[in-house]
C-alpha cells in the first residue's frame, strides 16, 4: 500500500469500517506530521489513537495614557498524541520542531499506554461517542494577528484619547489581547476536525484620585470580555459609548458613599453576575471538584450537601446548562480533545440538579457530559466544563422592571472581586459600583461594599432572572482548572438577576 493510501485508510476509520469519501481528505498532504503520527500509532498496534495539532500565535499590547508601554508576542505549536490499547492510555506531547521521528513518538506513547494498563486509571471512555467525518471551521473576517500594527495601536490610543477627553479622568490604561489558534484533531475513527479560532479581547480602566474623601484611586474597568471573533469585531465596537459609560460610573464613584451594613435586594447586572455564576455554580459542577480530581481543592457542595437528594435548595428560576456550540464562545465546539462528540447538557433545571453523575473512580458516563480539553499541545486533556448558560427569564423581565419593584436595594454593575470561604460554600463579592434603590427608584451611587452569603442561600434567594436582552457573555482568559493549572477558558452567558434579602457590608466603616 502506498503511503498516501495508507494514511487515507487509517483516517477513514478502520476501527469502525466506515470509509469516508475521498474528497473529505482533499486538503491533506503526506507532509502533514499529524497524519504521520496517526499512521505510526496505527501501525504500532494501538486500538484507538487521536492526534491534536495546535498552532497558537498570541499578541498583547498595553497603552498608558498617550503611549504604548508593552508589546508581547509569541508563536507556540506542537502535537499531542493519545493512544489507547483498550486497557491503558498513553499521552505524548511534542513541540513542532522536535526531531523525533513519528514511529519513535508513537512508540513512546504506546509504551506508556502498555505500562499504564497495570494500574487503576480513572477510565476515559475512549470507545464511545467517537467523532468521525470532516469538520472544518474557519472564521471569516480580518485575522487579528495579521492585522496591521497601526490599526492595533490606533485602537488603543483612541480609547485612551476618548477617556482623557473627560475632565475627571486622570489615568487610563488600555489593553488588547489577540490570539489565533488553529487546532486540528484527527482520530483513528476517521475524524478530521480543523478549527481556526481567533480571539480578541480589548479592555481598559479609567481612574482618578478621590481627593475629597478617601484620597484613594478609584477605577472603573470596561465591561468587555474575551470573545472568539475577528478584528472587525473590535473595530465595530462603539468605543465612545463604552468609554462614556465607564467615565460616568467613575464620576459617580468620586461622589459616592458606602451603604449601611444591612440586608438589601440586589439587582446584579449580567456583566457582574457571570463571574459569580462561574465561581459559585461552575466551580461546584466542574469534574475537578465533583470527583476531587484536584489535589487541594475542596469538594463540591453538590457532593457534600443535601443536593444529592430531597427538595431543591436552589431557586426555581435557575436553569443552567453547558453549551459547547455557543457563538463566539471561548470553549470550542462540539468535538473534544479526545476526538469525541460533545453534547449540550442541562445541569440545573428549574432549580433541580439533573443527571448528576455518580462519584467514584470510573465515574465518567458513557455519554460525555464533560468534554476533555487541554491547554495547548503540551498537556493531556482533562475533564472540564463547557460554556455555561444561565437561562434568561421572560421577556418582560427588564432591569428597569426589577428595580421598580424594590423598596430597598442595590443595582450592581461592573467587574467583580471575590473571596471564597475556605470550602467555597460561601462567598464574598465586591461590586465595582452600585446604585442605591429606594422605593423603586435609583437614588445615589454607592461604593465600598460587598455582599456575603452561603452559596446555597444566595441561589435560593434568586426570585427573578432578566430577559435575553440583559444577557452578557463573560469569560476569563486566566481561568485555571486542575492541579496542573491548565488554562481552559469558558464563556459564561448570563442575564441580570434579582436576589432578595442579601447581607451587604459597608467595607469603609469596617476598615
Amino acid at each position: 500500500m502506498k503511503r498516501r493510501e495508507f494514511i487515507s485508510s487509517v483516517c477513514a476509520g478502520i476501527s469502525t469500517g466506515v470509509v469516508l469519501p475521498k474528497e473529505v481528505f482533499s486538503h491533506r498532504t503526506p507532509g502533514d506530521r499529524e497524519l504521520r503520527l496517526l499512521e505510526a500509532a496505527r501501525k504500532s498496534g494501538a486500538e484507538y489513537a487521536v492526534v491534536r495539532k495546535v498552532v497558537k500565535d498570541f499578541e498583547s499590547l498595553q497603552a498608558q495614557n498617550d503611549s504604548i508601554t508593552s508589546h508581547v508576542s509569541y508563536h507556540d505549536a506542537g502535537y499531542h498524541l493519545i493512544v489507547s490499547t483498550g486497557k491503558g492510555i498513553g499521552c505524548y506531547g511534542l513541540t513542532e520542531s522536535s526531531d523525533l521521528d513519528e514511529d519513535t513518538a508513537a512508540g513512546i506513547a504506546l509504551s506508556m499506554a502498555r505500562a499504564n494498563e497495570a494500574f487503576p486509571f480513572r477510565t476515559i471512555p475512549l470507545t464511545s461517542d467517537l467523532a468521525a467525518g470532516s469538520h472544518k471551521a474557519i472564521q471569516n473576517g480580518e485575522d487579528p494577528i495579521e492585522t496591521g500594527w497601526d490599526n492595533k495601536k490606533s485602537l488603543l490610543l483612541k480609547i485612551n484619547e476618548l477617556a482623557r477627553g473627560h475632565e475627571k479622568v486622570e489615568f487610563v490604561v488600555s489593553n488588547l489581547f489577540l490570539q489565533r489558534e488553529t487546532v486540528r484533531i484527527i482520530n483513528s475513527n476517521g475524524l478530521d476536525f480543523i478549527d481556526t479560532r481567533w480571539m480578541v479581547y480589548p479592555n481598559f480602566a479609567v481612574s482618578a484620585i478621590d481627593r475629597k474623601k478617601t484620597k484613594r484611586i478609584m477605577s472603573r474597568r470596561s465591561d468587555t470580555s474575551p470573545v472568539r471573533a475577528d478584528f472587525g469585531f473590535v473595530q465595530a465596537l462603539d468605543l465612545s459609548k463604552m468609554v462614556n459609560r465607564a467615565v460616568r460610573d467613575l464620576e459617580n464613584l468620586l461622589d459616592s458613599d458606602a451603604p449601611d451594613t444591612d440586608r438589601y435586594d440586589l439587582v446584579l447586572a449580567g456583566e457582574h453576575l457571570w463571574r459569580v455564576v462561574d465561581e459559585t455554580l461552575g466551580y461546584h459542577l466542574s469534574p475537578q471538584a465533583l470527583y476531587l480530581l484536584s489535589e487541594f481543592s475542596p469538594q463540591s457542595i453538590f457532593q457534600i450537601s443535601s443536593f444529592k437528594a430531597g427538595p431543591s435548595a436552589l431557586s426555581k428560576e435557575v436553569t443552567l446548562r453547558s453549551e459547547p456550540g455557543l457563538d463566539h464562545s471561548l470553549a470550542h465546539g462540539s468535538i473534544d480533545d479526545l476526538g469525541r462528540n460533545i453534547k449540550p447538557h442541562v445541569f440545573i433545571e428549574n432549580g433541580e440538579i439533573t443527571a448528576f453523575p455518580k462519584p467514584g473512580a470510573h465515574a465518567f458516563p458513557e455519554t460525555p457530559v464533560f468534554p476533555f480539553r487541554a491547554d495547548g499541545w503540551r498537556n493531556a486533556p482533562i475533564p472540564t466544563l463547557s460554556n455555561l448558560v444561565l437561562q434568561p427569564g421572560p421577556e418582560e423581565n427588564t432591569i428597569e422592571r426589577m428595580v421598580s419593584g424594590i423598596n430597598k436595594g442595590i443595582l450592581i454593575h461592573g467587574s467583580t472581586g471575590m473571596r471564597h470561604h475556605h470550602d467555597r460554600s460561601s462567598v464574598e463579592v465586591w461590586g465595582e459600583i452600585g446604585y442605591l434603590i429606594e422605593h423603586g427608584k435609583i437614588t445615589k451611587p454607592l461604593r465600598g461594599f460587598s455582599y456575603i452569603q452561603r452559596v446555597t442561600d444566595f441561589w435560593a434567594s434568586c426570585i427573578s432572572v432578566g430577559n435575553a436582552e440583559t444577557s452578557h457573555a463573560g469569560g476569563s482568559l486566566h481561568k485555571t482548572v486542575g492541579d496542573d493549572a491548565q488554562t481552559l477558558p469558558v464563556t459564561v452567558q448570563c442575564p441580570a438577576a434579582l436576589f432578595i434579602n442579601v447581607p451587604v457590608r459597608n467595607l469603609e466603616r469596617q476598615s
Binding site: 499590547l61 503611549s67 504604548i68 508601554t69 508593552s70 508589546h71 508581547v72 508576542s73 509569541y74 508563536h75 507556540d76 505549536a77 506542537g78 492510555i89 498513553g90 499521552c91 505524548y92 506531547g93 511534542l94 513541540t95 513542532e96 520542531s97 522536535s98 526531531d99 523525533l100 513512546i108 506513547a109 509504551s111 506508556m112 505500562a115 499504564n116 497495570a118 494500574f119 487503576p120 486509571f121 480513572r122 500594527w149 495601536k153 470527583y291 476531587l292 480530581l293 484536584s294 489535589e295 487541594f296 475542596p298 469538594q299 473512580a361 503540551r378 498537556n379 493531556a380 482533562i382 475556605h422 470550602d423 492541579d483 496542573d484
Partner: protein, 443 residues
Amino acid sequence: MKTDIGRTRELLKKALRFAQGDDILLTYQKMNETIVRFARGEVSTSFRTSSAVLNISVRAGRRYGGYSTTDFSDAGLKRAMRLALDNTQSLPDSDAIIPFPGNVEITETHLFHQSDESISQKWRLEAVDKILRVGRNAGTDASGLVKTSDGITAVLSSNGFDVAQPASAVYIRVRMMSRDGRKSGWNESWDYGVEAISPSDVAMKAVDRCFLGGEPQRYDPGRHDVILEPAAVASLLFPLMQQFNAEAIENKQSFLRKMDGSSFVGERLFKDFITVYSDPHNDSLPALPFSLDGLPVKRETWIKKGVINKVAVPRIFGLKQGKSPVATPTNIFMDGWTFDIQEIIAKTNKAILVSSFDGVRLSDPTNCLLTGMTRDGAWLVEDGKVVSAVKNFYFSETPVYVLEQVEALSFSERTSPRNSLFPMRVPGMKVPGFSFIAVTDIV
C-alpha cells in the same frame, strides 16, 4: 546529552545568522518531562511532553523588542527574527542603550544526572503504586504526582555570551487525606536522579503527619511560639530573598529600603547566627550557573552573621545605574545547628509545630509581610511533646521578624518552597510570637 547540547548550539548559531538588528540575545529552553498524577488513591493522568522554546531579544538603535517561537525551521526562525525586529518599532526609545552580555567564562555545574527517557514508565508507576499502597494500608487517600524531567537551558548573544547547561530532576509530592476528610499530611522530595529517591519513605512521612496528634483541635489564633520545619522555613525565606534586589529597593518593593530611600545593606537586621548564601557550584545542591539575562551566578553571601551583606543587581538596572551587576541566586543555603528538629521539640514548653505553609502571598512588599495558611501538618507541642494536631491557621507575618527573633535552628535539610522546585538547604527554626490571625476548618 552531549549530542543535544551540540544540536542546541547549532540551532542558536543558525538563529543568530538569521538575526536582524544591532544586538541579539537568544535564550533557549528545552524540556522533556513525564508526569504521573494521582488523586483519591488512583492514578488520574499520565503524560510525557517534549518542548523547546526560543526567546529572541533584539536591539535596533535605541529600541528593544522580542519574540518567542517553537518553530525552528529556517523559515520559522527568519519569521521570528523579523517579528522581533518589528516589535522594536512598537515601543518608545529606551533612555539608555545597554548592550547584551559579552563573553564570560562560566563553568558548567553537575545538574544533569540522568535523562527522562532513561527512567522507565514502569519506575514511575511503581513509585506511584508504592505511594498508593502506603496510603491504602494506612486508611488514607493519596493525591500528588511523580515527575521526572531533563532539559537544557542555553543563552547566546551576538556579543559572545555563549552558555548551555543540561539538567535533570525527579520530584515527588504526596498528600495523604484520612478517609473521613478531617486530617491530612503532606510531604515532598526531589533530587537530580532517581537513585536516592524513596517513594515509600515520602509517602510514609505524609501518613505519619496525617495521623500525628489525632483529631485536629481548635487552638485560638494569636501570637504563638512556633517550631517551623525546613519546608515551612523555605516558603518564608524564598519571598524574602526575592527582595534582596537593588531594583526592588529602588522601586520601593523591598523591606531593605529605608524611609529616606537608602538601603539596609551593611546593617545588622537579624540574629548573628543567621547566614544565608548561594552557590550553584556546591556539589550538594548544584544549580544553574548563569542567569537568563546573561550573568554568571557566583557564590554570594547575602546575609552574613545577621548583617545584610549583598543584594542582587539586575544587569540592565545595574548598567544604567553604574553598578556592577550581581545575578539573583539560583539556590539558597542557610547554615543550621547540630540539632534534630525533634530535639528542639523536646526542649520546648509550648509551641505550634508547623510542617508547611500553603498559599503564601506577599501582602506588603515594604516590610515583606506575607499571608498564607498552615497546611497538612500543624500540632500543639507541650512539655517537649506533640500533644495534639490543631486546626489550620491563617498567618500574617514577615520573615524579617522571623529572622530577627529566631531562637534556635535545627540542622539544614534539602527542601524547596511548597509545590515548586527551587533548590534550598535550610534548617528548621524555633521562633517566638509568630502571628496567626485566624483558625480555619480547611483541611
